[in-house]
Amino acid sequence: MADGVTDKTPWWLNQRLRGFFAQALVIAVTAGFLAFLAYNTQVNMQARGITNSLDFFSQEAGFGIIQSLIPYSPTSTYAQAFLVGLTNTLFISAVGIVLATLLGLLVGIARLSSNWLVSRLAGAYVEIFRNTPLLLQIFFFYFAVMQALPAVRQSLDVGGLMFVNNRGVYLPRPVPEPAFWAVVGALFIAIAASLWLARWARRRQEATGQPFPVFWSGAALVIVLPLVVYFIVGQPLRWSVPHLAGFNFRGGMVAIPEFTALLLALTIYTAASIAEIVRSGIQAVSHGQTEAALSLGLPQWRVLQLVVLPQALRVIIPPMTSQYLNLTKNSSLATAVGYPDLVSVFAGTTLNQTGQAVVIIGITMGVYLTISLSISLLMNLYNKRVRLVER
């Protein structure tokens, strides 16, 4: 330029070039770091004689597992041990999620109650259990509660059906006869029918404006139809009640102390968080919405059903899902009390026996990652559906 003034940006201030260099740097550093780790791992594994193969999966595991939902014995393979761990993790997570949701809903609603005693009690519950570590609660329920229970002979007897002692909680076990499948079939048919009914009712209401009591008719269908079938085919369900025989209980089913302690702690701890989510979700619906709905002449429960709950659920469901994920991930604390979950069986015993550290930790993390990411994916789809549509 003739007058010496330049309007051209010098190259080191060019946004695109800068971005390009920054990214190249990030790639180089990340790749270099990973290569460094991979190289060291290679060298170290060779030095210790570890190979990175999956062969160990077909070898005999040789250790027993105190609870398994699928057939397993010490002569089974490591692959089967892995499956036992995985099913145990999924099992305790599923039971925990159901119980924590119920308890959390109850406490969350109780916290909003106009009854001073009830709301204060719920508040105390939330503050106590949310502010102490989960692991401490697990230890408490295992060492201070389950192990302090009376011995088998002095079991606590709950109505002659349930027995609690330091070997676990003994419950009656349902024994379905072949004809029971008819009842299960009836239940599925009833659910399908009530779903169809809901769709039909919505269409009719959209076309003619006439409402239909979907909830009550659906509930009646789901309860009455299986019951009717149950009595028609001759009550094909019996209960095996535990009874004391010699030094132990026979019959029924047992929740081992490790399972019971872990389940109690997971449920109580997560329910405290869920209660807070439910409370804040309901409070997030502004009072004007309730007033507007009431002034339209809707009865109280229809206000709840049609106005408050749909809006509250939009706020509640995403954090609720992440609590469910937390519960699933926290179930890995099982290893602290010896409940045979995935981490305890696979990343614990199997790792110690085979020494395949990289593969085993990788697979364990991969399992949890898969569960988390697939739930997040579903959550994102759901969020897209219920999102407020603005402009």
């Binding site: 971005g19 005693l117 106590i128 401490l136 930790i361």
Partner: protein, 367 residues
């Protein structure tokens, strides 16, 4: 005949059933038949639970004495806690050196107090000192080996002291890393974004315990032969990386709440990217993110207890060790209640502190 009121009739007092204790009871406990039912059932359950607990923990408890003989009969054995009290606080730190721990934490208090004074000078410097210089001083004070202080290996650190060290270092490490990751995730550069997303989702998708396992089993494999990292440091790195991913998501939430106009206004003023972030965006985003950050810190504080599983003796680890002492078997309830109370005080305190910060930084319109 007309009756005309010449003066104002004096106000009558409200009905007795509507005010005072009676009115309060009616409004809050017995307003409807089902509320009455709830009140009675709850009161009955509390009556079943609280008096026996009070009897066990206070009335029939044993407070003084020597050894477990002092705890014959029912009631809580607080003698056990008293016997182990130094361990609950210092772990296996040598008794003669415990003044160093006290001094280290005593140094921390005036620093934090100074940072909370409104409008004092050199706040930035004091803050930087607390974040960068204080940890170094504290480390040498605790570990020793310099200035004639006898060395205390980290394997002897324990109890509440270790829990606080884990929590403080975890917070100091996780917050800046989390902010960087959040910025990376919001960046317009695709590589930066995908690296951040991968890092965040990886840590958030797995349980902390597998990360701790990784740090204790895999890290020795990842490093060149001969390089050894202290067990405590490995746990610290694992906790800081893990929580950084959670902080990143909270901060991202705060960033997303800032209207685009703020970014554009900062650019229009000619601020560079770091300037606009540091002066315009971050102060607003962090203010919004405070409740979430505090919740994450509380989670971090509770999660420090997981180091028990890789064999560190934090508050919970020391409790476990004390309960396994053959001389003191059978006092699990007392041990866990005491440890739980300490955890509770810190976590509850943190959550109250969060509420205070929220109020203090609430510069918008109050409702």
């Amino acid at each position: 005949m007309a009756y005309v009121l010449k003066e104002r009739h004096p106000d009558l007092p409200p009905p007795r059933s509507e005010v005072g204790v009676l009115g309060w009871l009616r409004r809050n406990l017995f307003s409807t038949w089902y509320n009455t039912l709830f009140t009675l059932v709850t009161a009955y359950l509390l009556w079943l639970a609280l008096p026996p607990f009070f009897e066990w923990a206070v009335l029939h408890a044993h407070y003084a004495g020597e050894g477990r003989q002092a705890c014959a009969g029912g009631g809580a054995c607080w003698v056990f806690i008293g016997d182990r009290l130094p361990q609950f606080f210092y772990g296996f730190y040598p008794a003669a050196e415990r003044w160093r721990v006290d001094l280290g934490f005593a140094l921390f208090v005036p620093l934090i107090a100074y940072l909370h004074l409104p409008r004092v000078r050199f706040k930035l410097w004091v803050g930087a000192f607390t974040l960068f210089v204080y940890p170094v001083i504290a480390y040498y004070l605790f570990a020793g080996g310099v200035f004639g202080l006898p060395a205390v290996p980290t394997s002897q650190w324990g109890g509440l002291m270790l829990t606080l060290i884990l929590a403080f270092t975890g917070i100091v490490g996780a917050l800046p890393l989390g902010v960087l990751l959040a910025l990376g995730r919001r960046s317009s550069l695709p590589v930066l974004r995908s690296v951040s997303v991968a890092f965040i989702e990886l840590w958030r998708g797995v349980p902390l315990i597998t990360v701790l396992f990784m740090s204790s089993v895999l890290l020795p494999l990842f490093l060149p032969t001969g390089v050894e990292i202290d067990k405590l440091l490995r746990a610290l790195i694992a906790i800081a990386l893990f929580q950084a991913a959670y902080i990143a998501e909270v901060v991202r939430g705060g960033l997303q709440a800032i209207p685009k106009g703020q970014f554009e206004a900062a650019q229009a003023l000619g601020l560079t990217y770091p300037q606009s972030m540091a002066l315009v965006i971050m102060p607003q985003a962090l203010k919004i993110a405070i409740p979430g950050i505090i919740v994450t810190f509380i989670e971090l504080f509770k999660d420090t207890s997981l180091v028990v599983i890789i064999g560190l003796m934090d508050l919970l680890g020391i409790t476990q060790a004390a309960l396994n002492d053959p001389k003191w078997l059978g006092f699990a309830a007392e041990g866990y209640l005491f440890a739980g109370l300490i955890y509770w005080i810190f976590c509850f305190g943190l959550s109250r502190y969060g509420l205070y910060l929220e109020r203090r930084f609430h510069t918008g319109h109050r409702r």
